[in-house]
Protein backbone atom coordinates (compact mmCIF):
# COMPACT_ATOMS: atom_id res chain seq x y z
CA UNK A 1 0.00 0.00 0.00
CA UNK A 2 2.68 2.53 1.01
CA UNK A 3 4.96 3.20 -1.91
CA UNK A 4 6.64 6.10 -0.17
CA UNK A 5 9.85 5.33 1.77
CA UNK A 6 8.95 7.92 4.41
CA UNK A 7 5.81 6.07 5.40
CA UNK A 8 7.55 2.70 5.44
CA UNK A 9 10.23 4.21 7.66
CA UNK A 10 7.62 5.69 9.99
CA UNK A 11 5.92 2.36 10.31
CA UNK A 12 9.16 0.67 11.39
CA UNK A 13 10.17 3.39 13.77
CA UNK A 14 6.87 3.69 15.61
CA UNK A 15 4.51 0.72 15.43
CA UNK A 16 2.03 2.71 17.50
CA UNK A 17 2.08 5.55 15.02
CA UNK A 18 0.02 8.69 15.19
CA UNK A 19 -3.44 8.51 13.64
CA UNK A 20 -6.82 10.19 13.98
CA UNK A 21 -8.77 9.01 17.05
CA UNK A 22 -11.46 7.38 14.88
CA UNK A 23 -8.99 5.14 13.05
CA UNK A 24 -8.88 1.64 14.53
CA UNK A 25 -5.40 0.18 15.12
CA UNK A 26 -5.88 -2.80 12.83
CA UNK A 27 -6.37 -0.60 9.77
CA UNK A 28 -3.40 0.84 7.93
CA UNK A 29 -5.17 3.95 6.72
CA UNK A 30 -8.43 5.78 7.30
CA UNK A 31 -9.39 4.99 3.71
CA UNK A 32 -8.85 1.29 4.20
CA UNK A 33 -11.08 1.47 7.26
CA UNK A 34 -13.78 3.37 5.35
CA UNK A 35 -13.66 0.90 2.44
CA UNK A 36 -13.85 -2.11 4.75
CA UNK A 37 -16.82 -0.62 6.62
CA UNK A 38 -18.58 0.22 3.36
CA UNK A 39 -18.02 -3.36 2.16
CA UNK A 40 -19.42 -4.75 5.43
CA UNK A 41 -22.48 -2.52 5.16
CA UNK A 42 -23.15 -3.80 1.66
CA UNK A 43 -22.80 -7.41 2.82
CA UNK A 44 -25.47 -6.68 5.44
CA UNK A 45 -27.67 -5.11 2.75
CA UNK A 46 -27.27 -8.28 0.63
CA UNK A 47 -28.72 -10.33 3.49
CA UNK A 48 -31.56 -7.80 3.56
CA UNK A 49 -32.12 -8.27 -0.18
CA UNK A 50 -32.36 -12.03 0.37
CA UNK A 51 -34.77 -11.50 3.28
CA UNK A 52 -37.16 -9.26 1.35
CA UNK A 53 -36.52 -11.39 -1.75
CA UNK A 54 -38.23 -14.31 -0.04
CA UNK A 55 -41.32 -12.19 0.58
CA UNK A 56 -41.32 -10.89 -3.00
CA UNK A 57 -41.03 -14.45 -4.34
CA UNK A 58 -43.98 -15.60 -2.23
CA UNK A 59 -45.93 -12.63 -3.56
CA UNK A 60 -45.09 -13.49 -7.20
CA UNK A 61 -46.14 -17.13 -6.83
CA UNK A 62 -49.48 -16.38 -5.13
CA UNK A 63 -50.19 -13.52 -7.49
CA UNK A 64 -49.82 -15.89 -10.46
CA UNK A 65 -52.05 -18.50 -8.83
CA UNK A 66 -54.83 -16.23 -7.55
CA UNK A 67 -54.62 -13.23 -9.87
CA UNK A 68 -58.34 -12.22 -9.73
CA UNK A 69 -58.25 -12.24 -5.91
CA UNK A 70 -55.09 -10.13 -5.93
CA UNK A 71 -56.64 -7.58 -8.32
CA UNK A 72 -59.83 -7.21 -6.25
CA UNK A 73 -57.90 -7.04 -2.96
CA UNK A 74 -55.48 -4.43 -4.33
CA UNK A 75 -58.46 -2.22 -5.19
CA UNK A 76 -59.02 -1.93 -1.44
CA UNK A 77 -55.75 -0.02 -1.04
CA UNK A 78 -55.94 3.75 -1.17
CA UNK A 79 -53.92 4.91 -4.17
CA UNK A 80 -53.77 8.51 -2.91
CA UNK A 81 -52.10 7.54 0.37
CA UNK A 82 -49.84 5.06 -1.42
CA UNK A 83 -48.59 7.65 -3.91
CA UNK A 84 -48.21 10.28 -1.16
CA UNK A 85 -46.15 7.86 0.90
CA UNK A 86 -43.92 7.06 -2.08
CA UNK A 87 -43.24 10.79 -2.52
CA UNK A 88 -42.59 11.17 1.24
CA UNK A 89 -40.11 8.30 1.24
CA UNK A 90 -38.27 9.53 -1.87
CA UNK A 91 -38.05 12.99 -0.26
CA UNK A 92 -36.61 11.45 2.89
CA UNK A 93 -34.01 9.64 0.78
CA UNK A 94 -33.14 12.98 -0.82
CA UNK A 95 -32.75 14.75 2.54
CA UNK A 96 -30.60 11.84 3.73
CA UNK A 97 -28.36 12.11 0.65
CA UNK A 98 -28.04 15.84 1.31
CA UNK A 99 -27.17 15.00 4.92
CA UNK A 100 -24.27 12.85 3.72
CA UNK A 101 -23.11 15.74 1.56
CA UNK A 102 -23.30 18.15 4.53
CA UNK A 103 -21.22 15.73 6.63
CA UNK A 104 -18.65 15.37 3.86
CA UNK A 105 -18.33 19.13 3.45
CA UNK A 106 -18.38 19.64 7.24
CA UNK A 107 -21.59 21.66 7.50
CA UNK A 108 -22.85 20.89 10.98
CA UNK A 109 -26.02 23.00 10.85
CA UNK A 110 -26.98 21.59 7.45
CA UNK A 111 -26.37 18.03 8.62
CA UNK A 112 -28.57 18.45 11.70
CA UNK A 113 -31.31 20.04 9.56
CA UNK A 114 -31.16 17.20 6.99
CA UNK A 115 -31.25 14.52 9.69
CA UNK A 116 -34.22 16.21 11.40
CA UNK A 117 -36.06 16.45 8.05
CA UNK A 118 -35.36 12.77 7.33
CA UNK A 119 -36.57 11.90 10.83
CA UNK A 120 -39.80 13.90 10.36
CA UNK A 121 -40.48 12.48 6.88
CA UNK A 122 -39.96 8.98 8.29
CA UNK A 123 -42.58 9.71 10.94
CA UNK A 124 -44.97 11.11 8.30
CA UNK A 125 -44.59 7.86 6.36
CA UNK A 126 -45.46 5.81 9.43
CA UNK A 127 -48.39 8.14 10.19
CA UNK A 128 -49.86 7.59 6.72
CA UNK A 129 -49.26 3.85 7.12
CA UNK A 130 -51.25 3.99 10.37
CA UNK A 131 -54.18 5.64 8.57
CA UNK A 132 -54.09 2.87 5.95
CA UNK A 133 -53.80 0.08 8.51
CA UNK A 134 -56.74 1.41 10.54
CA UNK A 135 -58.87 1.40 7.35
CA UNK A 136 -58.04 -2.30 6.95
CA UNK A 137 -58.86 -3.02 10.57
CA UNK A 138 -62.23 -1.25 10.28
CA UNK A 139 -63.16 -3.24 7.17
CA UNK A 140 -61.98 -6.54 8.72
CA UNK A 141 -59.31 -6.99 6.05
CA UNK A 142 -56.71 -8.15 8.54
CA UNK A 143 -56.14 -11.91 8.03
CA UNK A 144 -57.40 -14.01 10.89
CA UNK A 145 -60.63 -15.10 12.60
CA UNK A 146 -62.37 -11.78 11.96
CA UNK A 147 -61.48 -11.58 8.27
CA UNK A 148 -64.47 -10.49 6.18
CA UNK A 149 -65.09 -11.46 2.55
CA UNK A 150 -67.92 -8.96 2.20
CA UNK A 151 -66.03 -6.50 -0.06
CA UNK A 152 -65.33 -9.32 -2.53
CA UNK A 153 -68.61 -11.28 -2.41
CA UNK A 154 -70.80 -8.14 -2.49
CA UNK A 155 -68.64 -5.49 -4.17
CA UNK A 156 -71.63 -3.17 -4.54
CA UNK A 157 -71.78 -2.81 -0.75
CA UNK A 158 -68.17 -1.58 -0.67
CA UNK A 159 -67.24 1.90 -1.88
CA UNK A 160 -63.72 1.08 -3.06
CA UNK A 161 -64.80 -2.12 -4.82
CA UNK A 162 -67.76 -0.36 -6.44
CA UNK A 163 -65.57 2.51 -7.67
CA UNK A 164 -63.17 0.00 -9.24
CA UNK A 165 -66.10 -1.79 -10.93
CA UNK A 166 -65.41 -5.15 -9.24
CA UNK A 167 -67.74 -8.08 -10.03
CA UNK A 168 -68.81 -10.49 -7.26
CA UNK A 169 -66.26 -13.29 -6.96
CA UNK A 170 -66.96 -16.98 -6.37
CA UNK A 171 -66.31 -17.93 -2.74
CA UNK A 172 -63.23 -20.07 -3.39
CA UNK A 173 -61.45 -17.24 -5.22
CA UNK A 174 -62.67 -14.56 -2.78
CA UNK A 175 -61.11 -16.55 0.07
CA UNK A 176 -57.67 -16.04 -1.51
CA UNK A 177 -57.88 -12.28 -0.94
CA UNK A 178 -56.83 -13.18 2.60
CA UNK A 179 -53.47 -14.34 1.20
CA UNK A 180 -53.04 -10.99 -0.50
CA UNK A 181 -53.68 -9.16 2.77
CA UNK A 182 -51.38 -11.54 4.63
CA UNK A 183 -48.59 -10.65 2.20
CA UNK A 184 -49.58 -6.98 2.32
CA UNK A 185 -49.21 -6.86 6.11
CA UNK A 186 -46.08 -9.04 6.13
CA UNK A 187 -44.29 -6.94 3.50
CA UNK A 188 -45.38 -3.44 4.52
CA UNK A 189 -45.06 -4.45 8.19
CA UNK A 190 -41.46 -5.63 7.71
CA UNK A 191 -40.78 -2.46 5.75
CA UNK A 192 -42.32 -0.35 8.53
CA UNK A 193 -40.19 -2.17 11.12
CA UNK A 194 -37.11 -1.17 9.12
CA UNK A 195 -38.39 2.41 9.08
CA UNK A 196 -38.87 2.35 12.89
CA UNK A 197 -35.31 1.08 13.39
CA UNK A 198 -34.04 3.75 10.98
CA UNK A 199 -35.96 6.52 12.76
CA UNK A 200 -34.58 5.40 16.13
CA UNK A 201 -31.03 5.52 14.71
CA UNK A 202 -31.75 8.96 13.21
CA UNK A 203 -32.81 10.24 16.66
CA UNK A 204 -29.49 9.06 18.04
CA UNK A 205 -27.58 10.58 15.12
CA UNK A 206 -29.25 13.99 15.50
CA UNK A 207 -27.79 14.29 19.02
CA UNK A 208 -24.37 13.07 17.88
CA UNK A 209 -24.41 15.46 14.91
CA UNK A 210 -25.23 18.39 17.20
CA UNK A 211 -22.16 17.49 19.22
CA UNK A 212 -20.17 17.71 15.97
CA UNK A 213 -19.41 14.00 15.73
CA UNK A 214 -19.85 13.63 11.95
CA UNK A 215 -18.46 16.94 10.71
CA UNK A 216 -14.85 16.46 11.77
CA UNK A 217 -13.75 14.30 8.85
CA UNK A 218 -15.24 10.96 9.95
CA UNK A 219 -18.44 10.44 7.97
CA UNK A 220 -18.58 6.62 7.85
CA UNK A 221 -21.55 6.27 10.21
CA UNK A 222 -23.69 8.83 8.37
CA UNK A 223 -22.73 7.33 5.00
CA UNK A 224 -23.54 3.77 6.00
CA UNK A 225 -26.78 4.77 7.67
CA UNK A 226 -27.61 6.54 4.38
CA UNK A 227 -27.08 3.22 2.56
CA UNK A 228 -29.55 1.53 4.94
CA UNK A 229 -32.13 4.31 4.53
CA UNK A 230 -31.87 4.25 0.72
CA UNK A 231 -32.21 0.47 0.77
CA UNK A 232 -35.48 0.77 2.70
CA UNK A 233 -36.57 3.31 0.07
CA UNK A 234 -35.79 0.82 -2.73
CA UNK A 235 -37.91 -1.87 -1.04
CA UNK A 236 -40.84 0.56 -1.05
CA UNK A 237 -40.18 1.50 -4.69
CA UNK A 238 -41.06 -2.13 -5.55
CA UNK A 239 -43.75 -2.64 -2.91
CA UNK A 240 -45.76 0.32 -4.18
CA UNK A 241 -46.44 -0.85 -7.78
CA UNK A 242 -46.73 -4.52 -6.75
CA UNK A 243 -49.28 -3.97 -3.98
CA UNK A 244 -51.18 -0.84 -5.03
CA UNK A 245 -51.04 -0.79 -8.82
CA UNK A 246 -51.76 -4.39 -9.86
CA UNK A 247 -54.65 -3.42 -12.12
CA UNK A 248 -56.18 0.01 -11.75
CA UNK A 249 -57.66 0.32 -15.25
CA UNK A 250 -61.36 -0.25 -15.80
CA UNK A 251 -62.33 -3.93 -16.06
Amino acid sequence: MSDSPTIAHDAHEAPHHEHPPYQRHHFETVEQQADATNFAMWLFLLTEIMFFGGLFTAYLIYRNWYYPAFVAASHQLNIFWGTANTAVLISSSFTMAMGVWCAETRRKGGLVLCLVLTFVLGLVFLGIKTIEYSEKIEKHHVPGFHYSLNSFLNPDSDEAAKAAGDKPMPLDMARHTEIYFFLYFAMTGMHALHMIIGIALLGFMIFRAQAGAYTAGHVTFVENFGLYWHFVDIVWIFLFPLLYLISRHAN
Partner: protein, 109 residues
Amino acid sequence: MSEQTQHEAKHGEHEHHVTPPIVYIVIFATLLVFTALTVGASYIEMGVFNPIVAILIGVVKATLVVLFFMGVKYSTKLTQLTVGAGLFTFLALISMTLADYISRAWGRW
Protein backbone atom coordinates in the same frame (compact mmCIF):
# COMPACT_ATOMS: atom_id res chain seq x y z
CA MET B 1 -4.01 16.99 10.64
CA SER B 2 -0.80 15.06 11.22
CA GLU B 3 1.91 14.65 8.60
CA GLN B 4 1.12 10.94 8.42
CA THR B 5 -2.50 11.42 7.36
CA GLN B 6 -1.52 14.07 4.85
CA HIS B 7 0.85 11.57 3.27
CA GLU B 8 -1.83 8.92 3.23
CA ALA B 9 -4.34 11.23 1.67
CA LYS B 10 -1.86 11.89 -1.11
CA HIS B 11 -0.89 8.27 -1.61
CA GLY B 12 -4.30 6.70 -1.08
CA GLU B 13 -5.73 4.44 -3.78
CA HIS B 14 -8.54 6.86 -4.49
CA GLU B 15 -9.91 10.11 -3.16
CA HIS B 16 -13.17 10.10 -1.24
CA HIS B 17 -15.76 11.15 -3.82
CA VAL B 18 -18.19 13.88 -2.80
CA THR B 19 -21.35 13.93 -4.93
CA PRO B 20 -22.47 17.55 -5.47
CA PRO B 21 -26.04 18.49 -4.40
CA ILE B 22 -27.14 19.23 -7.97
CA VAL B 23 -26.84 15.50 -8.77
CA TYR B 24 -29.04 14.64 -5.80
CA ILE B 25 -31.60 17.27 -6.82
CA VAL B 26 -31.79 15.97 -10.42
CA ILE B 27 -32.14 12.35 -9.22
CA PHE B 28 -34.79 13.39 -6.69
CA ALA B 29 -36.84 15.15 -9.40
CA THR B 30 -36.42 12.17 -11.77
CA LEU B 31 -37.63 9.76 -9.06
CA LEU B 32 -40.75 11.87 -8.48
CA VAL B 33 -41.47 11.98 -12.23
CA PHE B 34 -41.13 8.19 -12.48
CA THR B 35 -43.48 7.79 -9.50
CA ALA B 36 -46.12 9.83 -11.34
CA LEU B 37 -45.43 7.78 -14.49
CA THR B 38 -45.92 4.45 -12.77
CA VAL B 39 -49.24 5.58 -11.24
CA GLY B 40 -50.39 6.91 -14.62
CA ALA B 41 -49.31 3.74 -16.45
CA SER B 42 -51.38 1.56 -14.10
CA TYR B 43 -54.57 3.31 -15.29
CA ILE B 44 -53.87 2.48 -18.95
CA GLU B 45 -54.98 -0.91 -20.21
CA MET B 46 -51.86 -2.63 -21.57
CA GLY B 47 -52.76 -6.24 -20.82
CA VAL B 48 -49.69 -8.32 -20.09
CA PHE B 49 -47.48 -5.24 -20.33
CA ASN B 50 -48.97 -3.53 -17.25
CA PRO B 51 -46.85 -5.44 -14.72
CA ILE B 52 -43.83 -5.35 -17.06
CA VAL B 53 -43.98 -1.55 -17.31
CA ALA B 54 -44.48 -1.26 -13.53
CA ILE B 55 -41.46 -3.47 -12.82
CA LEU B 56 -39.33 -1.69 -15.45
CA ILE B 57 -40.07 1.73 -13.92
CA GLY B 58 -39.27 0.25 -10.49
CA VAL B 59 -35.95 -1.10 -11.79
CA VAL B 60 -35.03 2.30 -13.29
CA LYS B 61 -35.86 4.07 -10.02
CA ALA B 62 -33.94 1.54 -7.94
CA THR B 63 -30.94 1.79 -10.29
CA LEU B 64 -30.88 5.58 -9.91
CA VAL B 65 -31.02 5.26 -6.11
CA VAL B 66 -28.24 2.65 -6.04
CA LEU B 67 -25.93 4.48 -8.46
CA PHE B 68 -26.31 8.04 -7.16
CA PHE B 69 -27.98 8.20 -3.73
CA MET B 70 -25.98 5.19 -2.55
CA GLY B 71 -22.96 6.32 -4.58
CA VAL B 72 -22.15 2.93 -6.12
CA LYS B 73 -21.19 4.71 -9.35
CA TYR B 74 -18.25 6.27 -7.49
CA SER B 75 -17.52 3.36 -5.13
CA THR B 76 -14.58 0.97 -5.13
CA LYS B 77 -14.54 -1.97 -7.53
CA LEU B 78 -15.04 -4.24 -4.51
CA THR B 79 -18.32 -2.54 -3.60
CA GLN B 80 -19.51 -2.58 -7.19
CA LEU B 81 -18.74 -6.27 -7.49
CA THR B 82 -20.51 -6.94 -4.18
CA VAL B 83 -23.67 -5.15 -5.36
CA GLY B 84 -23.54 -6.99 -8.69
CA ALA B 85 -23.04 -10.36 -6.98
CA GLY B 86 -25.98 -9.71 -4.65
CA LEU B 87 -28.26 -8.76 -7.52
CA PHE B 88 -27.16 -11.79 -9.53
CA THR B 89 -27.75 -14.18 -6.60
CA PHE B 90 -31.17 -12.66 -5.96
CA LEU B 91 -32.19 -13.04 -9.63
CA ALA B 92 -30.79 -16.58 -9.81
CA LEU B 93 -32.72 -17.67 -6.70
CA ILE B 94 -35.97 -16.03 -7.79
CA SER B 95 -35.82 -17.45 -11.32
CA MET B 96 -34.96 -20.96 -10.11
CA THR B 97 -37.88 -20.87 -7.65
CA LEU B 98 -40.30 -19.61 -10.30
CA ALA B 99 -39.01 -22.14 -12.85
CA ASP B 100 -39.83 -24.88 -10.34
CA TYR B 101 -43.36 -23.60 -9.72
CA ILE B 102 -44.02 -23.17 -13.45
CA SER B 103 -42.72 -26.58 -14.47
CA ARG B 104 -43.56 -28.96 -11.62
CA ALA B 105 -46.99 -29.89 -13.00
CA TRP B 106 -45.90 -30.24 -16.62
CA GLY B 107 -47.38 -33.27 -18.36
CA ARG B 108 -49.86 -33.96 -15.55
CA TRP B 109 -52.90 -32.41 -17.15
